[in-house]
């Protein structure tokens, strides 16, 4: 699998530029996403990882154009969504598709699989007749490994299993031949046994169709499997705290939060640890602070094992490139790690 390439002039396929989302509620403003910069190139996969409530779904919805951000810009092929004309908007809508988490809610219960797939094909003039739509729908179902497709086309969602429904939802996202699919926890509602099959199918789409993915998950094991050859962005309370190549982030996590997430994945081999060992890796608290009352300085400091008083609770660490030994292209936002790396650099 390739890492994905930027187009000839270097513009990424989709770019989030200082995107913010503030929800106004009765209790106060909830900053769900607080300045996120991310980009995906053609055919690339970007995994967004984080605990529930960290803003990864909101970020994904903004990227897919389902919710306009309250701040910042979303650029598709270098053009900001908010400045697009109707013609460009149609191109964007066809280029970026979203797969919901819950396949029980994302399919219209009163429409057959064929009706669900045929509607976008007919609407966008990709199918000229009912027969044509039927044949294309068959091919789409084959792409998502629902065989034989004829058996599924006349079924209603309630006649399908969760895994089959999610495949239909993916097939629907593929109808307009998108260059990017944003998948929001697309596997989390499925049984573990079905999950792997769906992930394999999505990986196959990546290689065969060259579709780019923004893949949202709370499960690092899934991110590691699906994000191979791509990049990973770890989010905490509405911000990206670590960003880099999937393999490197998982093999050699730098931000204490990423380490904590990786430690939460049970492994057979306990020696598989990062730079800081033992005691220091234990979180000081498990409670996620409320978005209504964010901690001062680094928002992770109340839970962080590397917390240093006077530094972490006062200054907000920026997300900046960090020279990790043997690695490349890593962004981390942590005062302590940055100092440690700088010291190690001086010592050598």
């Amino acid at each position: 699998m390739t890492t994905g390439t930027a187009s000839a002039d270097g513009t990424p396929l989709l770019q989030l530029d200082a995107v913010e989302q503030v929800f106004r509620t009765k209790k106060g403003d909830v900053p769900a996403v607080r300045g996120v910069d991310l980009h995906v190139n053609e055919g690339e996969v970007l995994c967004l990882v984080g605990e529930s409530g960290c803003g990864k779904t909101t970020t994904a919805r903004i990227a897919a154009g389902l919710a306009p951000p309250t701040g910042g810009r979303v650029l598709y092929r270098g053009r900001a969504l908010s400045e697009m004309g109707s013609e460009e908007k149609v191109q964007y809508r066809r280029g970026v598709q979203f797969v919901h988490q819950d396949p029980y809610a994302s399919l219209n219960p009163i429409r057959t699989v064929f009706a669900t797939l045929a509607a976008p094909l007919r609407k966008h003039g990709l199918a000229t007749s009912r027969k044509d739509a039927w044949e294309q729908a068959c091919r789409l179902l084959e792409q998502v490994d629902l065989r034989p497709p004829e058996n599924f086309l006349s079924k209603y969602p309630h006649q399908l299993s969760g895994g089959q429904r999610q495949r239909v939802a993916v097939a629907r996202a593929l109808t307009l031949k998108p260059s990017l699919i944003v998948a929001d926890e697309a596997t989390s509602m499925l049984d573990v046994s079905i999950r792997v099959g769906l992930l394999k199918m999505l990986s196959k789409l990546r290689t065969e169709l060259g579709t780019g993915f923004v893949f949202i998950t709370h499960d690092l094991a899934i991110a590691r499997y699906f994000g191979t050859g791509g990049r990973i962005a770890v989010m905490y309370l509405g911000r990206v705290v670590e960003h880099g190549l999937t393999e490197e982030v998982i093999e050699n996590p730098q931000h204490p939060y990423t380490r904590a997430l990786l430690d939460a994945v049970p492994t057979m081999d306990d020696d598989e640890v990062g730079a800081v060992a033992g005691e220091a890796r234990k979180l000081r608290g498990v409670d996620i602070p409320s978005l209504l009352a964010l901690p001062s300085g680094c928002t992770f400091h109340p839970r962080c094992p590397l917390f240093r008083e006077g530094l972490c609770d006062t200054a907000d660490p920026p997300l900046e490139p960090l020279a990790v030994a043997g690695g490349a292209d890593r962004d981390v936002s942590c005062h302590v790690v940055r100092e440690a790396v700088a010291e190690a650099g001086r010592a050598s």
Binding site: L66, Q97, S106, L107, R111, K123, L176
Partner: protein
């Protein structure tokens, strides 16, 4: 009992009639409505439309020749009842159709589009809600000849939609947040398609039940107009019969009782059938009720 592996389908795709028959009263209502509609269609085909007056036999009580007696001019009451359902039922269905179409179209668009469209449509709804229907119809009735049943249906229907419009709007407000609507939107299927193909059919049961309730309301409104003498008393139907019986003092004549009670009973039977029918329909469209 279904196993946990096979999720219970939202709507069981067994025969519609089978599911309707699960409610006995609903099935009875269905049969009553079918019989009366059948009667209003068949009666004018097999019977003579004009019932000749026979002053010699005015105000006769029930007898072998006249099962329900005769009216003030000696016409057979039973024949009038059999022939007199057409207009009432036609106008009831027509007005209900007009009301339902307006309510569904405006309610769902207001909820889906929100913004100024929503506020404008809500304003319009408020205005229509404050119009006293009977008074307006009385005024219109004195200016125009409301002889055409189609015109009557249009008039009655175009003033009774606000309540249904608001409940449709409320339903769409929740439905449009569902993920399948979002998916349809991100596929750029177009507003009208998303609203009327993806969202509205999900309320089919709710709309049908409200349509039937609208039929009962329209029938009462129409009969009310006739009884008050606000609609032109040309032709013969149940409403006009009640009016005539009242005007000619049928309640003071012992043998006139069937004349005034027969149309009242016919109307009540239609309404009862319709109301009972909605119960069955509720079970058809809400399988959770049927489980109990």
């Amino acid at each position: 009992m279904t196993s946990a592996l096979a999720p219970t389908p939202a709507i069981q795709r067994r025969g519609l009639l089978y599911r309707m028959s699960r409610s006995k009263s609903g099935m009875a209502g269905f049969v009553i409505v079918l019989l009366i509609i059948g009667m209003t269609i068949v009666a004018p085909l097999v019977m003579n439309h004009t019932i000749a007056p026979d002053p010699a036999h005015a105000w006769e009580g029930p007898s072998g020749g006249h099962l329900l007696g005769t009216d003030n001019s000696g016409r057979d009451v039973l024949k009038q009842v059999l022939l007199g359902g057409g207009t009432v039922i036609f106008v009831g269905l027509g007005a209900a159709a007009v009301t339902t179409v307006i309510a569904v179209a405006l309610g769902s668009l207001a909820a889906y589009l929100r913004g100024w469209v929503d506020s404008a449509l809500l304003q319009l709804t408020d205005i229509f809600m404050t119009i006293p229907q009977i008074v307006l119809l009385a005024v219109l009735g004195s200016f125009f000849q409301l002889t055409s049943p189609i015109l009557l249906a249009l008039l009655l229907g175009s003033f009774s939609w606000p309540v249904l419009m608001r409940s449709i709007r409320a339903q769409v407000l929740t439905l449009k947040e569902r993920e399948f609507v979002e998916a349809a939107r991100s596929l750029d299927l177009g507003t009208l398609r998303v609203v009327f193909v993806e969202i509205v059919p999900n309320m089919a049961g709710y709309i049908l039940i409200n349509f039937i309730i609208a039929v009962t309301n329209a029938i009462y409104a129409l009969v009310g107009l006739y009884v008050l003498g606000l609609a032109p008393l040309s032709g013969a139907n149940w409403g006009i019969m009640i009016h005539q019986a009242w005007t000619y003092g049928a309640i003071y004549i012992a043998s006139g009782t069937p004349y005034i009670l027969a149309p009242v009973f016919a109307i009540a039977l239609v309404q009862l059938g319709l109301v009972m029918l909605t119960r069955s329909l509720e079970e058809v469209f809400n399988p959770r009720l049927a489980e109990g």
